[in-house]
């Protein structure tokens, strides 16, 4: 309990990390509303219109802010050297790491759930007459999927940052993987079979933004498999981070 409280004090006592959390909510809601309003205004020209996807569109950018949160929370300890007083106070590195990742995950979840809900509500409102029908069976799974995806990708980022022990290197790896890789190259036919298993692609599927196995842009698997893939990536990154933390000099 003490360790969780200590890590929580760290998170809330640095303004830059708090900004990333605000940015997460702001981007989720703001961009979703913007996209929804645009779609509504140009509805005749929009292809494959999906009201749920439209109102969650802001999450594609909001995840970046949350990834930065996960990276900075870990990376700033190495950049500032505060990892040394921290580990001198908590020499059992497994416990320190468990507390740190638990707090990152919980904070990410606490920010993600309202972000997803607010994005959806605001987005649907902006869509007006084109909003999703009440009781649509796809709504709840998409919202739950999005709420699961964001904390998972944040923890994935924290694991990567612990592996490389640097915010800059971690973002240098993550931003291309999460954006350029799959958004750009992901649509190149030859690369799709491989890139569709990247974490953000699984996330797209989980949030139903990709449109599912039947759509041209979606991966060849459904949301259940997407969740498994994502959890797999996250666990792998966290374990990798732990192995580095345990072995390396601080």
């Amino acid at each position: 309990m003490n360790l969780l409280a200590a890590e929580w004090i760290k998170v809330r006592s640095v303004r830059s990390t708090l900004w990333t959390l605000l940015a997460t909510i702001g981007l989720a809601v703001g961009l979703s509303a913007f996209v929804a309003a645009n779609f509504r205004a140009n509805i005749e020209r929009v292809q494959n219109f999906d009201p749920i996807v439209t109102s969650l569109y802001g999450l594609t950018l909001a995840q970046l802010a949350l990834v930065v949160f996960g990276v900075l929370t870990v990376g700033s300890e190495y950049a500032s050297g505060s990892i040394r007083p921290t580990l001198a106070a908590v020499p059992r590195r497994g416990r320190f790491y468990a507390a740190k990742t638990a707090v990152i995950g919980l904070v990410a979840l606490a920010v993600s759930a309202p972000s997803v809900l607010a994005a959806f509500v605001v987005g649907q409102h902006a869509l007006g007459p084109y909003a999703v029908a009440a009781g649509d069976p796809d709504t709840v799974p998409a919202l739950l999927g999005a709420t699961a995806y964001l904390p998972l990708i944040c923890l994935f980022a924290a694991g990567v940052a612990t592996m490389v022990r640097s915010s800059a290197i971690a973002l240098g790896v993550l931003v291309p993987v999460l954006f350029l890789g799959s958004q750009g190259l992901g649509n190149v036919p030859g690369l799709r079979p491989v890139l569709q298993y990247l974490p953000d692609q699984a996330g797209m599927e989980l949030m139903r933004i990709a449109g599912g196995p039947d759509s041209r842009f979606g991966p060849a698997y459904g949301p259940g498999v997407a969740l498994v893939i994502l959890v797999g990536w996250t666990v792998a990154a966290l374990v990798g981070g732990f192995l580095v933390l345990r072995r390396r000099d601080a």
Binding site: A6, S13, I83, R84, A88, P91
Partner: protein
Amino acid sequence: MAAMIEVSQLTKRYGRATAVDDLTFTVRPGVVTGFLGPNGAGKSTTMRLMLGLDRPTAGEVRVAGQPYERLNRPLHTVGALLDGRSVHPGRSAHNHLRYLARSNGIGRSRVQEVIELTGLTTAAKRRAGKFSLGMAQRLGLAAALLGDPAVLILDEPVNGLDPEGVRWIRDLLKGLAGQGRTVLVSSHLMSEAAKTADHLIVIGRGRLLADTATVDFVGGAESLEDAFLRLTADAVEYRGQL
């Protein structure tokens, strides 16, 4: 609170470079022990090894009878200042101390006490990134004192302190040792070491050169500085030119 630091056959290599080379010594309670050696001698490395931050290539360190990693809530047993600048620049001194305290179950009132003790009261709410060197050192000292520890490990604590601060630390360390605590302090200031340390451990190129009472170390030499320079003449790696 008879807690010693026992260093046995400690070796640390970074790649091919040997920073600490088969060191064996014991730091005893009740006196201030000065830890001396030229630049790059391995003082800071030895201290990181004592705190379990770096892993030894060979040998071991026991603090209060145990490897550091085994200590439960170690701040209650060992307080350390390695580098006062090891603080998130965006975090206030107060919050830095608060999370360290909380991780070891130490309450807010003790945080306030060490802030006052180290003279940081007016700066405590400011971001540590804006601190001067001396203020950062005071913050590092405050962190070291949080758990009222039986063992203190301080790497160049007077570095950056004003004359008033230097004297304050001298009196503080002597007082803490007088209470039966174990105090290990590295320094490059020979006159300061002569005034503060009762016992000296001197290393050069990672090896033990001397482990004796300060009076015996100085012996017939004019000053501690002269004795030190003579002893370490062959162990200096980085030497300037005139």
